[in-house]
Symmetry: C2
């Protein structure tokens, strides 16, 4: 991953849940950096989400721990989150209100504040512009691979970098952002524009993925603009610079979101569910999520079984009023499996099975009701999903 001027990252093994695991990450933002963020819409948002939201405007440090989500912990959870912010502030010499806390891990257990604060000196001691890889490792929980994405681009002749990391594998149906993602650029950008850029990127990336339909209590995605590149500050949404930056941010977010799905708990396949010819964007999303959440569709993908009847049943129960099933066509990659609401006349089981053996498959559903479309990413449902989630706390 390309470093981003104005961003330094440090990690530590604080023994939060298990000893010897890199579980603490500190991110330092250069003075003058701007920060935008989106957070979970789960009504039970965790204490760190509440604190990070309040501290966003003055952000200078991000403090991320795994092993404990500090969610469902009531007022004690708020005190614990603030205590961690205060400890880092004292360590680095900033205001406590300049520290944004992020936590991920088990819900409902008290945050081990002592262990976190004891790990801060180590994390601060190794703050470094090249710390992105270590940080990507440091935010993992049930993830099996670290997730990062990076772009170099030229805007108005100036080199600009966009780099991001994410974690997430289960409890993934972000309603705002995935579990945790941190993206930074060295471009300079007005905070309102930066927020708009993040909103647009999240809408087509983190808000379009689902592993299990369970929206986390701790979802957060942060976009930082350090302003350290030579590029003039971006001040208008109509500028080419803004559009180029947005495209790069959306690309990084999409790559991270897809990496989350590829690493979905127990996942063996990346499945893109595309819905076309819808009467509205909302109904396209409704159909796409009905298919993407169906345990029967997901177990069929795990078994490499082109069981188009289950896809069709999921489309049928999505709740669209006046759906004319006779106009529906469904493709598995290049193979048409359903035409006019029934098995396509030219379809043969071998063709479907050839597609099903692939690691990445697109289900494309044409509704024949209009010109809108939408797209979500999901994964299959395997024995390992059950194993991972049955054993999580043991």
């Amino acid at each position: 991953m390309h470093p981003v001027a104005g961003i330094r990252l440090g990690t530590a093994c604080a023994g939060i849940k298990k000893p010897g695991r890199r579980d603490l990450v500190v991110v330092e933002l250069a003075e003058g950096a701007r920060c935008a963020a989106v957070f979970t819409r789960n009504a039970f948002c965790a204490a760190p989400v509440t604190v990070a939201r309040h501290h966003l405007a003055a952000a200078r440090y991000l403090l991320i721990n795994t092993g404990n989500a500090n969610a469902g912990t009531g007022e004690q959870g708020m005190r614990d989150a603030l205590a961690c912010c205060a400890a880092l502030a004292q360590q680095v010499g900033c205001m406590p209100e300049s520290v944004l806390p992020f936590s991920t891990g088990v819900i409902g257990e008290s945050l081990p504040v002592q262990r976190i604060t004891a790990g801060l000196p180590e994390a601060c001691a190794n703050l470094n512009e090249t710390g992105w890889d270590d940080a990507a490792h440091g935010i993992m929980t049930t993830d099996t691979v670290p997730k990062g994405a990076s772009r170099h681009l030229l805007i108005d002749g100036q080199a600009v970098t966009v780099t991001g990391i994410a974690k997430g594998s289960g409890m993934i149906r972000p309603d705002m952002a995935t579990m945790l993602a941190f993206v930074a650029t060295d471009a300079a950008c007005d905070p309102a524009l930066l927020q708009q850029c993040l909103n647009e990127a999240v809408a087509v990336s983190f808000n379009r993925i689902t592993v299990d339909g369970d929206t986390s209590t701790n979802d957060a995605c942060v976009l930082i603009a350090t302003g350290k590149s030579a590029l003039a500050p971006i001040a208008s949404t109509s500028s080419d610079a803004y559009k180029l930056l947005c495209t790069a941010v959306a690309e990084v977010c999409t790559e991270l979101a897809q990496a989350v799905i590829r690493d979905g708990e127990g996942a063996t396949k990346l499945i893109t569910v595309e819905v076309q010819e819808g009467g509205s964007a909302d109904e396209c999303a409704l159909v796409a999520y009905a298919v993407a959440h169906s345990p029967l569709v997901k177990t069929a993908f795990f078994a490499s079984d082109p069981n188009w009847g289950r896809i069709l049943a999921a489309v049928g129960r999505a709740g669209l009023s006046g759906l004319d099933v006779g106009r529906i066509t469904i493709y598995l990659d290049e193979v048409c499996i359903v035409r006019n609401g029934g098995r396509a006349p030219e379809y043969r089981e071998e063709l479907g099975q050839q597609v099903m053996k692939r690691d990445e498959i697109t289900v494309c559903i044409h509704l024949g009701r209009g010109t809108h479309h939408d797209k979500v990413w999901t994964c299959d449902f395997s024995y390992d999903y059950v194993r991972i989630n049955a054993e999580y706390r043991t």
Copy 2:
């Protein structure tokens, strides 16, 4: 199961999917019997659902096959369903419009009409008032146990019987009725009242269960009143007779619905999700289904892990506006696990684990927003759910 005067049932091994399996059931209704039914709201309703709906008013025979759902089969599927009706009509000497077809099994394959019609003589030859047990076996697919329920009651001093059978194990989130259920009484009842009685019973039974959130294309539930008891015809919803009959029908339907969940694919536990103190019945149902559909909650139940954080996260993502999480209390049976939105102060992990070892568990969620309540039944999510659905077509 108690026989119902005016109902005879016969079965046959027609070799529809596999040889030697009882897969064909004929139910004969005495002349003058009245019939009510509810069907799936899945937009892709199967051909037999369409035909059964049209033939309801003149019903004299039900023709049920397993091994093939005749769904997603287009116009050929309609012709096949009608051909089976015509064959049975010819066999027994009635109008084809008096035969209601019901199919369950794999979606998207042509109905083997020849095998079904070839099995009709055998099924008709053993039509018998005591055929309920055999019929309960004859409608099973992935079910591991036959499902029946029966009540004797006295109305106005007259003996009345209500007996029913059901099948269903996966693709269970009825939006009308479960996969297939057939209930009969010897009471006499006006058709409009009978339909109302069925609607009320289904609302609190089959429409309150979910295995996997997948609504089937073939759901149907039929209630028959033969009028063979000595009881005077029921003609008013305000009569005690109507209320007593409705109670018995609702009890039979609830027992069958719970039997479907107990036999849910891979299920090891029956879980009741109760939501109380809601601002409306709708929001109670929304919360109950969010919890009942959460794969994370369901895998925690499979693992006997009192992971209340996952329950709380599911409540939080149910989409209630203005939810004050500080007012929420959650019980696992008699053990309070969450109070005021956080872990109950008196809660200890051992108490939760004792409850989790049970085969039947009630999760009771108090929202603190009003006086409404609702209740749904579901099961846990195990390795076997994945195995059964990954291997279904192989």
